[in-house]
Symmetry: C2
Subunit: 155 residues, 2 copies
Amino acid sequence: MSHEHEHHKDDRDRQATLDKYMAERGLKSTRQRALIIDTFFESDGHQSVEEVWARVRKNDARVSVATVYRTMKLLSESGLAHARNFGDGQTRYEAAIGKHHHDHLICTSCNKIIEFENDRIEALQDAVAKKHGFRVTSHKMELYGLCRDCQRLSS
Amino acid sequence: MSHEHEHHKDDRDRQATLDKYMAERGLKSTRQRALIIDTFFESDGHQSVEEVWARVRKNDARVSVATVYRTMKLLSESGLAHARNFGDGQTRYEAAIGKHHHDHLICTSCNKIIEFENDRIEALQDAVAKKHGFRVTSHKMELYGLCRDCQRLSS
DNA sequence: CTCAGTGCAAAGTCTTTGCACGATT
DNA sequence: AATCGTGCAAAGACTTTGCACTGAG
């Protein structure tokens, strides 16, 4: 299966999830929402509202930042995006569709973020949750430290 | 070894760490700092600045919240406390001495927080970090979901 | 036609900071 | 005495919200 096919499939998944979510609550589909959502999913990574807004404005300068805040919250509540807090005082959103779940290695010196996934850790997390009677819906794991490059620089 | 002994030992550890840190940077020991630090370490859990301030004020109403902010940041930088972000827009501090490292199960319904530790997960984290050339200094792992009680209520 | 969505600016939170005064080394 | 610390209020950063207008269903 080509990457292109995968992307189209992701697009459809996202559209379906979103349509379902919006239909359930009587939410309307507007020019602004469509633009914001498309813009968000066009980029990878951990996007702040400000960043999404900047790119949205290139297409339509009339969109207000308040609408971006509202729409990102919508995406987060619908499960299409995850809200993250890496310690700077800013919420960052990450697309929740189209890639496997993963966690983060964060360099405290250069702020580089490396993503990784590890099934054994996930399995252990589930086991821990079960032991405590929890039904886990999401999780985050972040390892902070110095990346290879910054270790070299500081030594 | 009695619990009492352990606590005394923790107090000494903390005092030593803090003294060393402050000496290294020429920081002064003041009435406010001592009170804030004692107050913080008297309680367990994940304390917001506002909460610490409230308890500090019972002893000395003249202490300003700005000083509490500054002191908590100091504790965090000295490694005696960890700053956490659980998603409400508030930094919470947790004592870093006197208990093992642990992670969190967070109920998204009642906000209950359960702590757990799992050595195998920690070991796997180290392995992942090593694979990426990272030197990890700290980490956090949070599992979000419904606790046993809230599952029962919502079903 | 109705109700949700949007833009705007105002208000809210949490946190940081400039400055003059006070305390510690 | 020299600095660092503190209190206060102002400023900042990010986010939410009230309201009147717009637009989707």
